[in-house]
């Protein structure tokens, strides 16, 4: 039982803090604090800058270009990055696909894709969900049929975040219609510029366009783009989802957000007095902070267990439900503090640069946190199975 940082960790912390202090562009910092959506080129430029420093793929092993940090260092790094209001960057390539290729990819796939992910040369999107396959992902219908040395892919993917910016999509497709439905699923990499792909925008309730529906019509994909074996897609997807969920806890982000809320509550006034002096506001902030502490230490415990060699199992479901609850609470507090400053609909220009101009967008979007990556209800089903064994149905 020891959570103190040693002298070397502290030196590392100072180094990271100083670097973010000096290198985070003010415009990105402002957008991160206010919750404004980043544009593609901003994200790419920022990721490349982190990579140049060797700090983009912090979770990757050294052989693939990772920094080889201990979990403590990674934790310190995340805290400092978030505290500096530096954006987190994209997870699709770095957090999701990277580890999948390391575990299941061919040597050629690794050699080709991993460096391109690290240098942000490819932009990956996740093609899992379909109109009829959400929580019941295994019922997906997009079919890949062998045609010579290729697959012909037909179907439609739904809710594909950033498909309109992506160069590639990792995709779950059906390669067999017989047997258990999980067993007929394969994991396929598809270039977005292939003929037969159409991307249609979906505007979400924050008024932004990040979601899309992707239509695939007779899309020809070479078999070398298959990851793992045919029929191994479900296992790969499960492996990847666990990675997605662990990163979803978002402790560092929440800590930074809470610090920003305190600053906002000290600045906003009610009845002429700083809002932070209001008894109810203080209690709400305190309650949120305590929930965050519970999350942080649960996260520590899960990390410690996985560092000791245990694969993250149902704990990742617990972290996801706890983490998203804290995120949603914080975004609620943000609009509580903003009050009528959060009313204007997607104002741009001078007003759009204000502290509260995007609070409502963020609140609206944050509702999705309990829907994507396995909904809250589905996570609880997983946890119930853990508790009850076969008895949970």
């Amino acid at each position: 039982m020891d959570i103190d940082f040693d002298a070397e960790d502290l030196a590392f912390q100072r180094e990271v803090r100083a670097w973010f202090e000096a290198n985070t562009p003010p415009e990105l910092r402002r957008k991160t604090i206010t919750g404004e959506m980043l544009q593609k080129d901003e994200i790419v430029r920022w990721q490349r800058r982190l990579d140049a420093q060797g700090w983009l793929v912090t979770g990757w092993p050294q052989e693939h270009g990772g920094p080889g940090w201990t979990p403590t260092r990674r934790y310190i790094f995340d805290l400092e990055r978030a505290a500096a209001s530096a954006p987190i960057g994209l997870s699709m390539g770095v957090i999701m696909l990277g580890p999948v290729l390391m575990a299941f990819g061919t040597p050629e796939q690794r050699a080709h894709y991993l460096p391109r992910i690290r240098r942000c040369e490819d932009w990956w999107c996740q093609g899992y969900s379909e109109p009829g396959a959400g929580s019941d992902l295994a019922s997906l219908k997009t079919a890949a049929v062998t045609d010579g040395g290729d697959y012909l892919v037909n179907g439609s993917k739904m809710w594909t975040t950033y498909a309109h910016w992506a160069t590639h999509m990792f995709c779950l497709v059906r390669t067999a219609a017989t047997g258990k439905k999980q067993e007929g699923i394969s994991f396929l990499l598809i270039e977005m510029d292939r003929a037969g792909i159409e991307v249609r925008p979906i505007v979400s309730i924050d008024g932004e366009h990040s979601l899309n529906q992707v239509f695939l019509t007779d899309v020809r994909v070479p078999k070398k783009n298959l990851v793992g074996r045919e029929g191994q897609g479900w296992d790969i997807a499960k492996y990847l989802l666990t990675h997605e969920r662990t990163s979803i806890a978002g402790v560092a982000e929440c800590k930074a957000l809470l610090a920003n809320l305190h600053a906002a509550a000290a600045e906003r006034r009610s009845g002429g007095r700083p809002l932070v002096e209001d008894a109810a506001m203080r209690l709400k902030l305190a309650r949120a902070e305590i929930e965050l502490m519970a999350l942080e230490y649960t996260n520590f415990r899960v990390l410690a267990a996985t560092a000791a060699g245990k694969a993250p199992g149902p704990e990742s479901s617990l972290l996801k439900t706890m983490g998203t609850a804290v995120q949603q609470t914080l975004s609620e507090l943000d609009i509580d503090i903003a009050a009528e400053k959060a009313w204007p609909w997607r104002e741009r220009g001078e007003f759009g640069r204000g502290r509260y101009a995007h609070a409502m967008e963020r609140y609206c979007y944050s509702r999705a946190a309990t829907i994507y990556g396995g909904s809250d209800e589905v996570q609880k089903n997983v946890l119930a199975k853990m508790l009850l064994g076969g008895g949970a149905r």
């Binding site: 969900s129 009829g132 959400g134 929580s135 019941d136 019922s139 739904m158 809710w159 979906i202 505007v203 979400s204 309730i205 008024g207 979601l211 006034r269 009610s270 009845g271 002429g272 809002l275 209001d278 008894a279 109810a280 506001m281 709400k284 609620e332 609009i335 509580d336 009050a339 009528e340 959060a342 009313w343 204007p344 609909w345 104002e347 007003f351 409502m360 609140y363 609206c364 509702r367 999705a368 309990t370 829907i371 994507y372 909904s375 809250d376 209800e377 609880k380």
Partner: protein, 397 residues
């Protein structure tokens, strides 16, 4: 059973062995509003209005006037219907259910009631017939950047000069501001910034020199704005009610505004429940409708219970809206706002949750109800504010 006979209405309800039934007239009002809005104010029509240049349909507004909805609680002598709060909520609830963006609350309730309650005969004659018919829009401008929802916090000032008034200050979050022909502005004629005494209300035409409106579209599709009042010169007759005694009226207006807003919210909550029951009954995952999962069933029941409790709180507050004891009236309004506010947030969030991804889309109406209810939660102060107000009034009672 309504204003200004609320207490007798409450007593009568008791005498009738708790008769909470609406009168025939009230029922007709409600049914007519529901029917018209369903037919003429569908989701697509509504979205076209929101996207239009002005963001409001004058045509619909005039129709609302013709049907008597805008003057439902105005005196018959000025083209009104002579009803009160119970009539008002019969109209407000269907408007919430139809996501109406026109300024029913801002103008027909807050603006019009200010004049109906405190206006001189000349002010009433000038404004009420136009407000009742839908020709005019009059809105209340009282909050300021630093006021939060402390109504006594008024920094804008009005000085008596040259036989009239000169008004200066800023107002923020003024509902319906870009559409307004006039504003009822709270300004200080005496006293320090948060003193209860010394606040006066003024009738200010939107075109008066020195009045500037910075309008914007609100997240719920309506419009609001900030007001800059720069040495606005007004006549002596611009004063509404008694000089320095405006706070009492302001509190009364906010209390009835809360009741109307709660009815609107209830309309939206009911629509969400209906749509969510329908969706979960048809959306299949794992080969069965998702409503066959018990956790979903219980969530729907929680939403239903939240709505029933909200309806009860609304009725309670409506029956106290004209209570002669201001503290009893304010307590009832704050109880409704705190209690319904929390439930509105719950129902809105769960409706999105149970719809999954489609609940997050701009294309579906679910998200629009969600945003309307989110705005409602903050309107006139959030639940915490009203819990505190309720507790303070109770302690003082």
């Amino acid at each position: 059973m309504c204003s200004p006979r609320c207490c007798s209405a409450a007593a009568r309800a008791k005498a009738n062995a708790m008769n909470f039934d609406l009168s025939e007239e009230q029922k007709m009002l409600r049914d007519a509003a529901q029917k018209f809005l369903r037919a003429e104010y569908g989701f697509d029509a509504r979205n076209r209005i929101v996207a239009s240049e002005t963001g409001m349909s004058r045509e619909h507004w005039r129709r609302f006037g013709e049907f008597g909805w805008l003057g439902v609680a105005l005196p018959e002598a000025h083209g009104g219907f002579g009803g009160g709060m119970v009539e008002t909520i019969q109209v407000a609830e269907p408007m919430g259910a139809a996501l109406v963006v026109e300024p029913y609350l801002a103008s027909a309730v807050l603006g019009a009631q200010a004049v109906a309650r405190a206006g001189s005969p000349a002010q009433q004659a000038a404004w009420l017939p136009g407000l009742a018919s839908g020709k005019l829009v009059l809105v209340l401008a009282h909050t300021e950047d630093d006021s939060g929802h402390q109504l006594a916090h008024v920094a804008a000032r009005a000085a008596a000069e040259r036989g009239g008034w000169v008004l200066s200050g800023r107002k923020s979050g003024v509902l319906g501001a870009p559409w307004a022909d006039g504003f009822v502005v709270a300004a200080r004629t005496a006293g320090a910034v948060h003193e209860r005494r010394g606040i006066s209300l003024f009738m200010v035409g939107a075109k008066t020199p020195g009045v500037q409106v910075a309008g914007y579209r609100v997240y719920d599709g309506s419009r609001a704005g900030d007001l800059l009042l720069d040495a606005v010169v007004l006549g002596r007759d611009a004063l509404l009610g008694v000089e320095g005694e405006g706070l009492g009226l302001l509190e009364q207006l906010i209390d009835i505004g809360i009741v109307a807003a709660c009815a609107d919210a209830l309309g939206a909550m009911g629509a969400l429940l209906r749509k969510t029951v329908e969706y979960t009954g048809t959306r299949k995952q794992f080969d069965v409708p998702i409503a066959s999962f018990q956790v979903i069933q219980h969530r729907l029941v929680d939403m239903f219970a939240a709505i029933e409790a909200s309806r009860s709180l609304l009725l309670m507050a409506a029956l106290h809206a004209e209570h002669p004891d201001a503290a009893a009236r304010s307590r009832a309004a704050s109880a409704a706002k705190a209690g319904i506010g929390e439930r509105a947030r719950f129902v809105a969030q769960q409706a999105v949750q149970l719809h999954g991804g489609v609940g997050m889309t701009e294309e579906l109406d679910i998200g629009h109800y969600f945003r309307r209810l989110t705005l409602f939660c903050h309107l006139f102060g959030g639940s915490d504010h009203h819990l505190q107000r309720f507790a303070a009034l109770r302690a003082a009672a």
